[in-house]
């Protein structure tokens, strides 16, 4: 069986910023190579990537994460049959989702009590956990609910397997990449195909603190002074960002082509392209309006491999020295390290590599692979991945 793994390496400089903070408001850090580094958690960057999908993919390819599955399904039920009254639709939806996922869908006690106190009718039922369902799954479940309208309980008893399958195939791109956890129904969990590492700076970092004052414009008479004062912590960093994608698992999670007339690898190609572009271009939004730290990566390396992913974070275990800009030395280190690791572990021959880079500081990376601007790189990677994963006739 052919095996495909994609790994993605990014060098990105962010000026004074606080894109991911801890509970004290300070930018997150970690120690590596004996030196404190700036850190951006994997969760933060995964969320930013997922948010970027809204612009890169159709709504139908994405999932919704919500407790309000009953209401969501009701909208779809009404699209099929407008005559179904809302309360009946809620019940149909709740029973169907319950059969499909094993999670109870009921009116939260607190909301039920509040409604009773105010003399209002019961609100819509909800799931106890956030459910993550794809648009295609919701459409299919709505159809199932309408089909069993006459006696939903009996109908679902006979069709439980069908309901489960509907919730466990054709996952949305975001679920296929980043996984789903349904706390009650472990059999409809999806193993995430993407693995995202915490981004860390290639150099040592000390958090700094900005003391600010704000003047009260409407208070000219009283004693002069600040209307308010405060501090905000920040740092500047050149980050090494790494993600790996199990293309085979992604392909299984997504299922095959949507329509008869498209290649079976079409959903995979679109998902890989969205992932590469989304990961490269996205930025967690923490304090972005305070610092305006909208940057794009200085360098991107994408690799398609046959056996295992390889992180190059080791190139920066010895921190890049402070004081002379970090991108040039980071690029040089990375270029040397990639060659050494791949030679040492015999990985160079079966790896396809693409490079995107900006400016003379990153010139050392040019020879690692095919150099392309982002749009063409994304297309090239998507096409190559789809070709590798196409069933051989």
């Amino acid at each position: 069986m052919s095996r495909t793994i994609l790994d993605l390496h990014v060098l990105q400089t962010v000026p004074p910023s606080n894109i991911n903070r801890d509970d004290t408001g300070a930018p997150k850090t970690a120690v590596y190579g004996g030196a404190r580094r700036s850190r951006v958690s994997s969760q933060a960057w995964k969320r930013a990537t997922r948010m970027a999908f809204d612009d890169l993919l159709d709504a139908g390819e994405l999932g919704v994460r919500t407790k309000r599955v009953a209401e969501l399904l009701t909208e779809r039920i009404h699209k099929i049959d407008t005559s179904i009254e809302e309360r009946e639709a809620w019940t149909l939806a709740a029973e169907t989702v319950q059969a499909a996922t094993g999670s109870k869908i009921e009116v939260p006690k607190r909301k039920a009590d509040a409604a009773k106190k105010n003399g209002q009718p019961d609100p819509a039922p909800e799931s106890a956990y956030l459910m993550f369902l794809s648009a295609r799954q919701l459409d299919a479940l709505a159809e199932l609910a309408v089909e069993g309208r006459a006696d939903i309980k009996a109908f679902l008893k006979d069709n439980k397997k069908r309901a489960k399958e509907l919730a466990d195939t054709r996952h949305s791109v975001d679920i296929a990449l980043f996984g789903r956890m349904v706390a009650d129904g472990a059999d409809v969990n999806v193993d995430a195909a993407a693995q995202v590492a915490h981004a860390i700076s290639v150099h040592p970092v000390e958090n700094e603190s900005d003391y600010y004052t704000a003047v009260d414009d409407e208070n000219p008479d009283e004693e002069t002074g600040a209307g308010m004062i405060g501090t905000v912590e920040f740092n500047s960093a050149t980050l090494y960002r790494y993600a790996a994608l199990d293309v085979d698992l992604l392909s299984r999670n997504l299922g095959e082509g949507l329509r008869e007339d498209e290649p079976v690898t079409e959903p995979l190609r679109r998902a890989v392209e969205a992932f590469v572009r989304g990961f490269v271009e996205s930025l967690p939004t923490g304090k972005v309006n305070t610092f305006g730290n909208h940057t794009l990566p200085d360098a991107v390396i994408v690799k398609l491999r046959r056996t295992r992913p390889v992180s190059f974070v080791g190139a920066f275990e010895e921190p890049v020295a402070l004081g002379s800009g970090h991108v040039r030395e980071a690029s040089q280190r990375l270029a040397e390290y990639v060659g050494e690791v791949e030679a040492a572990y015999g990985l160079a021959d079966d790896t396809e590599t693409w490079v995107l880079r900006v400016g003379p500081n990153t010139v050392k990376l040019a020879d690692l692979g095919t150099e392309l601007p982002l749009g063409e790189l994304v297309t090239a990677v998507g096409t190559a991945t789809a070709e590798r994963s196409a069933p051989t006739a």
Binding site: R3, I5, D22, D23, K28, T29, A30, V31, Y32, G33, G34, R37, S41, S42, Q43, V64, R65, T66, K67, R68, L130, A186, D187, N189, D191, A192, Q195, V196, A197, H198, I200, Y242, A244, D246, L249, R306, T307, R308, P309, V310, S311, V313, G314, E317, E318, V341, Y345
Partner: protein, 237 residues
């Protein structure tokens, strides 16, 4: 009997043994369940598959570079309402390096070696967001026992860490090795996986013996001059 040696190094690792709900802690060394899980995933075993052949392997780890603990505070927001969800606390080991070894039947060890070189599920160091910084396999050693294998392995701490300790010709490294059955002096930990079935995860107690081994420090300075007291030649009281 042979031993598969694994190097577990990365900016972050997390080896939980008692983590539940919102507070996810880490032990100070890889757990047996963590490493067995890594091997089972590399082989592509399903979460509900039988693990008894893997859990029967002798297991031990050596702490080559202990690292430091990092506390990560994680918030989540509801995508529809933007309300915040329960905050979770996750602990990581930053900057640590371990050597883990599993020893047993030669054929099984060889199969596991193949699996870590071409893993079915992508490997991670205890938590998915912690990919290894270096390829994890160090190869297979013919070993009389696990402790010998851990003793013979060169020191895998980072160069900067070895240099920092250059005054020490050898490094004392802690090892945590499966205890013999009935060993009354063993520590016990609940990290012996019986099943990774997400509906019914089960762990048994495992006895652990803690030892220290000495390994050469490649960065050590030449040994200092031997004790030399010229006045001793003068004799007398």
């Amino acid at each position: 009997m042979s031993a598969l040696m694994l190097q577990l190094a990365g900016p972050l690792q997390a080896w939980g043994s008692a983590a539940r709900f919102a507070r996810r802690t880490t032990e100070n060394a890889p757990t047996k369940s963590g490493v067995i899980g890594l091997l089972a995933a590399a082989q592509g075993r399903d979460r509900t598959e039988d693990l008894s052949d893997l859990t029967a392997l002798d297991f031990g780890v050596r702490i080559d570079q202990p690292g430091t603990r990092v506390r990560d505070y994680q918030t989540a927001h509801h995508l529809d309402t933007d309300r915040s969800m329960p905050v979770s606390e996750r602990f990581y080991l930053a900057d640590a390096v371990f050597v883990a070894a599993v020893a047993g039947d030669d054929a099984l060890i060889d199969r596991l070696h193949d699996a870590v070189r071409a893993p079915v599920y992508l490997p991670y160091l205890g938590r998915r967001s912690c990919p290894p910084a270096r390829p994890i396999d160090l190869g297979v050693r013919a070993a009389a026992g696990l402790e010998d294998a851990l003793l013979a392995e060169e020191w895998h701490a980072a160069a900067w860490y070895q240099r920092k300790r250059r005054t020490e010709p050898t490094a004392s490294l802690t090892t945590l090795v499966d205890a013999a059955p009935g060993d009354a002096r063993a520590d016990s930990r609940r990290d012996m996986p019986l099943s990774f079935d997400p509906l019914h995860r089960r762990y048994a107690l495992r006895g652990v013996r803690i030892h220290t081994v000495e390994v050469a420090n490649p960065w050590a300075r030449r040994p200092a001059a031997p004790d030399h007291d010229p006045t001793s030649l003068l004799g007398g009281d």
